[in-house]
Each structure stands twice: as C-alpha cells, then as structure tokens.
C-alpha cells in the first residue's frame, strides 16, 4: 500500500486558477519531486497534502485512511517552507524543539532529540544561536532540522534550496538527499528547478497549469518526454516536424534519420515531433544520421562546449560537446553524425 495517494484532486480559486484531476501515489521511503514552472500549482498541491488548504473535490489517502478533512496538526506531516518561516522569537533550540513540545515529550527527551537532529544536519552546538544571526545555509539546515525532529511520516520541502546562492545550492544538492535518506523519511520536494529535482528526487511529478504533465524517474523524463512542452521545459530545444517512414526511420527537414526509439516502429506515415537531444552529435562523418551544418555560435561552459549550428535546410540546432572536443571556429562548416539512441519521437504538434 502506498504511503500517500492523491485521488483526483480538484481545487479552484476565485481568480480563475485551478488544479485539475491530480492523481499519483508516493511509496514509503521514497523522495518524490514535484517539478514545474512557477504558478503550475505545485505549492498549492503541497499545501493540500499538508492540510493547510482543502480540495474542492478528490481525496487524500494516507496509509489507506482518508485524511482529506483532517486538520494539519493531526496529520503528523512535516513541512519546510520556502523562506523557512523560522520563529524569530525563539533560538535554534526553541525552533527545533517546537514540534517535540507539541508532542508533549519530556524535557530530557526533547534535548536529546534536538541534539541528535542538529548533528544530523551538521549544526552541532548551534542550540543557543539566535536565528536572525544565522547565514542562509544555516537557516536552511535549522528549518530542515525543525521539520525532521518530530520524525514525520511524510516530510514536504517547498523549494528547499530556492533561497540559497549558487555555490551553496550545489553543495546541498549533494548533501540533502543523503541527510534525507539517512533520516529514512518519505519526502515530497517541490521545485521549479529541473537540476534540483533531478539531483534530489527518486521520481518526479512534472506539473503544468494545474495538471500532471508526466510522472517518471529523472532519466525517464529526460529521455522520453511525453510532449513537446515537457521537452521544452526540460531545456530540450531541438524539436523537428517529422513523418514516420518505416520502423525506426523518419523523414525530417534534415533528411531521412534513423531513430532507435522503440515507439518509432508503429504507424508508418504518422506525423510526429522528433526530439534530438543536445548530446546526440559527434564530429565526423562515420556513424549513421550524417548532417551538414555551419557553426553559428560557440560558447565554452567550463565542463562542456555549447555549439549553435544551422543545417543546410535552414534549421537551427544546439548541441553540447565534451570540453576536450576539437571544434572548428564560428562560420566554418562541419559534418555531424547523430546517435540514433538520442533521437526520440514525441506525439502532437506543439
């Protein structure tokens, strides 16, 4: 039985904004990401699960029990807010101990648990610091400790790394999943940042305008986006109109290309969208799918090159190459071969 099941959640607001028929399940112990552009309803969904809002229709099931109308403080969930919402009138200890006090634990147990939790997030000895004197990263950890301390059945994180600067985010993207797995807690994390979702979550629910667009592991989403919208959201921009010719072959403005995608076998003559992932290209004319392009832009990104090219048919494409690749200068012509495994067929025209 899944720990959490959302069953056809609907919610509409006076300003016309809605959540429509949201349904998915979360298993015990997993880290689930809710990903989507801002305003897609992911935070509202989180608040619905938390019990801070209630749905117009649909049910929230936890361990097979309907908790749709259970008050937030009786659900035994934890929620870490985007801006942390640390209590400014309490010190670090007071913040982390809050949930334990609500449980009615005795003082020694509270102290023990606070110490333990602070150690888990790497803030030993911070008990009596004033929260206003903490750095951004420390505040984030206190907020995490505060929501972990009562050992919630389900921990929800709202943009957990959103308020941090880049270097700190990079580091916490590694540390956060480790801390969460060590705490053994089931997690739903909300983010608008694909990199963050992929780094932290085992499985991602991608949302668009109040609806679930796709559910899958990060690899699934990246390799097999279910629509052009999903592809574009994930930063995959090489999308071409194509027509299926026969099993594994499509007709495109670049010529006839071979795609290893399993889906490519069905429905000859069908109009589809072809996604060419940016890592598909190799320099040189040895493999299949050879295309002649002119380099229109080249930028060095440290660990990789990004190459903008124009095909002889006028189509613009973008590829990435390893930092060590030998690439001609802008304006020069080039033959590229495209790995059939990096070519995916999508449904729809948009």
């Amino acid at each position: 039985m899944p720990l959490l099941e959302l069953d056809g959640i609907h919610k509409s607001y006076p300003d016309g904004w809605t959540l429509t028929d949201v349904r998915f399940t979360v298993e015990e112990g997993e880290i689930r990401g809710l990903l989507g552009p801002s305003g897609c309803g992911k935070t509202t969904l989180l608040r619905l699960i938390a019990g801070l809002e209630s749905p117009d229709r649909g049910r929230v099931w936890v361990d097979g029990k309907d908790v749709t109308h259970v008050a937030p403080h009786r659900r035994g969930f934890g929620l870490m807010f985007q801006e942390y919402a640390l209590f400014p009138h309490k010190d670090v200890f007071g913040n982390v101990a809050f949930g334990l006090r609500m449980e009615g634990l005795d003082r020694p147990s509270i102290e023990e648990r606070v110490t333990e939790t602070l150690a888990l997030v790497g803030l030993e000895g911070f008990e009596h610091r004033d929260v206003s004197q903490l750095s951004g990263g420390e505040r984030q950890r206190v907020a995490l400790a505060r929501s972990l301390a009562p050992q919630p059945r389900l921990l929800m994180l709202d943009e957990p790394l959103g308020a941090l600067d880049r270097a700190l985010r990079e580091r916490l993207m590694d540390e956060l999943p480790e801390i969460l797995h060590r705490a053994g807690v089931t997690v739903i994390t909300v983010t608008h940042d694909q990199e963050e979702a992929f780094a932290i979550a085992d499985c991602v629910v991608l949302m668009r305008a109040g609806e679930v667009a796709q559910i899958g592991t990060p690899e699934d989403l990246y390799r097999h986006p279910s629509s052009t919208w999903v592809a574009r959201f994930l930063g995959l921009t090489n999308l071409l109109h194509a027509r299926v010719v026969e099993r594994g072959r499509v007709e495109t403005p670049l010529g006839r290309l071979q795609a290893a995608d399993a889906d490519a076998g069905r429905g000859g003559g069908r109009r589809v969208q072809l996604l060419i992932r940016p890592e598909a290209a190799r320099v040189g004319g040895k493999g299949p799918n050879q295309v002649h392009v002119e380099i229109t832009g080249r930028s060095f990104r440290g660990d990789r090159y990004q190459l903008d090219v124009r095909h002889t048919s006028g189509v613009d494409l973008t590829f990435v190459f390893p930092a060590g690749a030998e690439l001609p200068a802008t304006g020069e012509s080039l033959v590229l071969s495209l790995d059939p495994r990096a070519l995916t067929l999508l449904q729809g025209n948009a």
């Binding site: 801070l52 403080h73 807010f81 801006e83 919402a85 400014p88 809050f98």
Partner: protein, 587 residues
C-alpha cells in the same frame, strides 16, 4: 561607493552649512519660546509662586482626597478604555491583516476618519446618538411606544468609554493591523505543521510576535485617554473629571493658577514617562521578523465561518464609527420631527441685534483664519525641520554613518538626533497644560501676546508641527541618494538639486502635512478654550458655548456647527487619503 558620494557632499540633501544653522536657530527658538518657556513657567508657578522654591502647592494637592480621586479616575478610566479598545480592535486587526474583501479599502479609509475629528464633534455626535434626545432613544421610544427615553447614557462612564473606543479603534487597527499584515502567515502554518492547534499556534507564535506592536498601540491609546478633555467635559458632565478637565476648571472657574499648574506638573510627568515608553517600544516593534508583502498574505474569506467573522467585524466597525456621525447630521437637520435647516439658519443670525454678541458664523471665519495661518507657519517650520532632519537617514542606513557625521562637523552632530524627539514632544503634552502655560508665560513682558490672535496660531502650530514633520520627513527620506547624485553629476548645484529633485517629490507630502495642520487647527479645543479671546471664538469653542446655554435652539446650533466642522475635517481627510504616500506618515 556611497561613502565617496557623501564625502563629496552629494549623497544627502546638502543645505549649505549656514542655512542649516539658521534653520536650527529658528526651530529651536520657536520651541524654546512657545513650548519650553510656557512649561517652565508652569513649573515656576507651581513650585515657586512667590519666587521661592517650595513644594507647598504640590503637597496641597494631596491634602484633600479630591485630587487623588481625580488622578485615580484619570488612570482607571484610561486603563479601562484602552483594554476595551484593544479587545474590540484586535479581531478587526486580524481581519484587515489576513483577508481581502469587497469594499475593504473604503472601510479602511472610513476607520481613519475619527483620527481627524475634533473632540467637540465626536462628543456632540455621541450625545446625538445616545443622549436623552438622541437618535437611539427616540427610535426606541417610537418603536416601543414609550413616552420617556429608555436609555440614560448621558453623563455616564459608558458613553465616555464608547467615545474613547471610537477615537482610538483606528490607532490599534493601524498599528497592530499593519504589523500583523506584514507578519508571514507561514510562521503560524509552520507551527500547525509541527503539531499545534490553531489556538496553540496563535498563543505560541503569533501573540509573542505581536506583543511589541500591541504594547505600543496600548501605550499610545492610554496616553490619549489619559489626557482626554473634550469628551469628558461634554459627555461626562460635572460628575467626571480627568486631570485635564480639572486643570481647565481650576483655571477657568476658580482662577486658581498655582493649583492648575501643580496638576499640570503631575500630568506632564505621566505623559512624558509614557511617551518615553512608547518611543522605546516603537523602536523594538522592528523585530528581526521576516516581513512579507501584504498582497501575498491576504485572501478572500472562505466558508461561512470566515465570511461570518469578517462580516461581524465590518458591521461592528461601521456601527461604532458611522452611526454617531449619522446621528449628528440627522439631529442637526431635525426640528420638531421634521427636516429643517433652522439650526443652520440660526448660525447666521444675531437675534438680539447686540453689538457685543458675536454671530456664530464669525466663529467659522475665525477658525478658518487661524487654520490657514497655522498651515503657513507649520509648513515653513516643518520644511525647515525635515530639511535638517533628513540627514539622519544616512546615518540610519549604516555604512556611510561616520563620513556624514564628520562632514556635518562634530559640534552639531547631536542636533538632529535631539531635534527629532523634541519636535514630537507636543504630541504627548496635554493641550490644556499648553494653553495654561501660554496664559501664565505669554501675558506679560518681555513677551505679551495675551490679546494677540497670534497666540492661538502659535499653539496650533506647535500641535500641528509633529504631524507636518512626520508627513514630510518620510517623503524626503524616501528619495534615493542616487537621484541627487545623478542630478549633481549632471551639474546641478545643491540648491538646484533641492529644487529639481527633492521639492517635486516632497510636494505631495507637503499637501498631506498642510491638510493635517488645517484639520488639527480647526478641531483644537483644549488649548484654544483657554487662550482664545471671548470676542474671537473658534468653532469648537462656539460649540462648547452653545452647550452651556439652555434651550433646544442652542443645542441645535451646536449640532449644526459640529456637522459643519465634521464636513470640513472629513473633507480634509479625503484630501489626505488622496495625496498621502504610503501609510500615515511615520506614526
């Protein structure tokens, strides 16, 4: 970057040093002559009436229990009024902080109207509503078929408390409501997620965070209730007296100036102490709380419970704040059960044809004249004050502090820091005490202004000045140094910068300050009642005189004149709402 700008003298409003010195001199002379000197004279009168220091007048206060009783009444009615105001305004503060509903901005503006209404108008409005011939009693008599008024609220504590709530409700709403609306609702939600019930979350998180703003509001309300004058005088009748009323009676009825002065000293001690507490608290209201934009936290009420709660509060607000004013207008237009303009017409007549009799309409002319003079004087002084005080903003912003200090010259560094709170002092000083001070100090050489109309203007300016400064200063401080720097880089001299950058931005705030000064002057009663010449009454004084005379025509004229005064002040308030930038200045 900022530091260099200040060193070169462009980063802040940079009046030439000589001009600044001149401004300081004028401002300080004004305060010394028309504030400290009169107060000092009161001290002299109470402690050294014959030139020798003696504590006798003060000790005489406590020989009879009468004055102790007055002090005790002053304290406990203020305490009760404050508690009642908090109790009624706190739920409304929550409603305004957390919910968005149709008509909210109109209602919010409406709740601020009492802030600019003269005490005479409010007192009359409450008698018009709750008095023996008031709207409520007449309605009850008609509906229930009684031949006598069923409610006797005139000259009771209840009507005093109601009037105090009417006045100060908006203060609590503004201070607590504003703070609350900036408080992230996520704090309470976080507590909920950690297992607290709604009430526990309120008690453990929201309430402790609200305490500074609650106390600040309570202290301010207490100060106003403590120095309450017109309300007690009119609504309380002879049975009730606060210190303020007693000072007035001792001065006007018994001509016992030393005793009045001694009472004033007690009052000054109390209000100054409370003012200090208030300034302290106001500083600590700025806790390191993560404040959020109000838009983000307000939402429409959902479900019958929330809608009911919001509606109940709005209804209470409207009943409390609007019905007295409606009653005032209705009563002033009613004669023998029919609509009539008789009372208004009477204002323009001189029934006895007497040359000594001042027709009531002259009071309107006097009031407007005093008010216009007050506007001019307080705007001139207010701009000077804002000009020299705006430098403090640089120090407040931290880094550039030291350079601006050295730039200013060590000798005068303390001046702006001192001037600001000193300018606020008249707000916490009782008007009657001030009036008494003027009578004691300014009616003999070297400065004899006793017969001059200027005396009233000076008193009004002193009371209005804090409002003007608080309106203009935030506008000046809101001007980013970069604007001035940009103008300076493009070749503008410092006067030119002031003219081209500061003045246009400050102009709106000046309008607000001017209207504040106008309404304050129109409604001022405490000081005016003592210092206005009998032949030159203002509208509030005239209203009070009508009340002292028998007959329904006199009472009707009091109502009519109150209605006119209310219309003037409400009109002024609408102008303030239209022009003000942000919240009510820095209150």
């Amino acid at each position: 970057m900022g530091g260099r700008a200040v060193e070169s003298g462009v980063g802040v409003l940079h009046l030439p040093r000589l001009v600044r010195l001149l401004f300081y001199t004028i401002l300080l002379s004004f305060l010394v002559l028309f504030y400290f000197y009169p107060l000092a004279s009161i001290l002299t009168l109470s402690f050294a009436p014959q030139g020798q220091v003696s504590l006798e007048p003060l000790s005489r206060l406590f020989q009879t229990s009468r004055h102790l009783e007055t002090l005790w009444f002053t304290i406990w009615q203020a305490t009760l009024s404050t508690l009642l105001t908090l109790l009624l305004a706190l739920p409304a503060s929550y409603v305004f902080a957390r919910y968005d509903f149709p008509g909210k901005s109109v209602i919010q503006a409406l709740t601020t109207v009492p802030f600019v209404l003269p005490t005479m108008v409010v007192s009359l409005a409450f008698t018009a509503l709750l008095g023996p011939r008031g709207l409520l009693n007449l309605t009850l008599m008609r509906v229930l078929g009684l031949d006598r008024p069923p409610l006797d609220l005139q000259h009771t504590l209840a009507i005093i408390l109601l009037a105090h709530v009417f006045y100060n409700y908006t203060l609590v709403l503004r201070i607590v409501g504003t703070f609350w609306s900036n408080l992230s609702p996520q704090l309470e939600e976080a507590a909920r997620m950690l297992g607290s019930s709604r009430w526990r979350a309120f008690a453990e998180v929201t309430l402790p965070l609200l305490v500074p703003s609650l106390t600040a509001a309570a202290v301010l309300v207490f100060i106003f209730d403590f120095t309450s004058f017109g309300v007690i005088l009119v609504l309380g009748g002879p049975r009730f007296a606060t210190l303020e009323v007693e000072i007035y009676r001792q001065t006007v009825h018994y001509l016992n100036l030393p005793l009045a002065a001694a009472l004033s000293v007690i009052q000054i001690l109390f209000t100054f102490g409370l003012m200090m507490v208030y300034t302290r608290l106001q500083a600590s209201t700025t806790l390191p709380v993560e404040l959020r934009s109000r838009r983000a936290v307000q939402r429409r009420p959902q479900g019958w419970r929330e809608v009911g709660f919001v509606t109940a509060n709005v209804v209470l607000m409207v009943v409390l704040l609007v019905t007295p004013l409606i009653a005032l207008v209705e009563r002033s237009l009613t004669l023998d059960g029919g609509v009539s303009l008789t009372f208004y017409r009477e204002l323009f007549r001189n029934p006895r044809g007497s040359v000594f009799y001042v027709p009531p309409v002259a009071a309107v002319r006097n009031s407007v004249g005093f008010a216009l003079a007050t506007v001019v004087l307080s705007i001139i002084l207010g701009l000077m004050a804002a000009g020299v005080l705006s430098r403090r903003s640089v120090r407040a912003s931290g880094k550039v502090a030291t350079s601006s200090l050295t730039d200013q010259g060590g000798m005068f560094a303390w001046l702006p820091r001192m001037l600001d709170p000193i300018l606020m002092l008249p707000l916490g000083t009782s008007a009657v005490t001030l009036g008494l001070g003027y009578i004691v100090a300014l009616d003999e050489p070297p400065l004899n202004l006793r017969t001059s109309p200027l005396l009233v203007v000076l008193a009004h300016t002193l009371v209005a000045l804090p409002f003007v400064v608080r309106s203009v200063l935030p506008a000046i401080r809101s001007i980013q140094p970069q604007l001035r720097e940009a103008a300076a880089v493009m070749g503008a001299s410092s006067w030119r910068v002031w003219l081209e950058v500061d003045l246009p931005i400050v102009a709106r705030a000046m309008v607000v300050g001017a209207v504040f000064a106008f309404t304050v002057s129109m409604g001022e009663f405490g000081a005016t009642s003592l210092i206005a010449r009998p032949e030159r009454p203002t509208m509030p004084v005239a209203i009070f005189r009508f009340l002292g005379r028998p007959g329904s025509v006199n009472y009707g004229q009091a109502l009519a004149m109150s209605t006119l005064l209310m219309l003037v002040c409400t009109g002024g308030f609408l102008v303030i709402e239209r022009f003000r930038v942000g919240e009510m200045g820095e209150f």
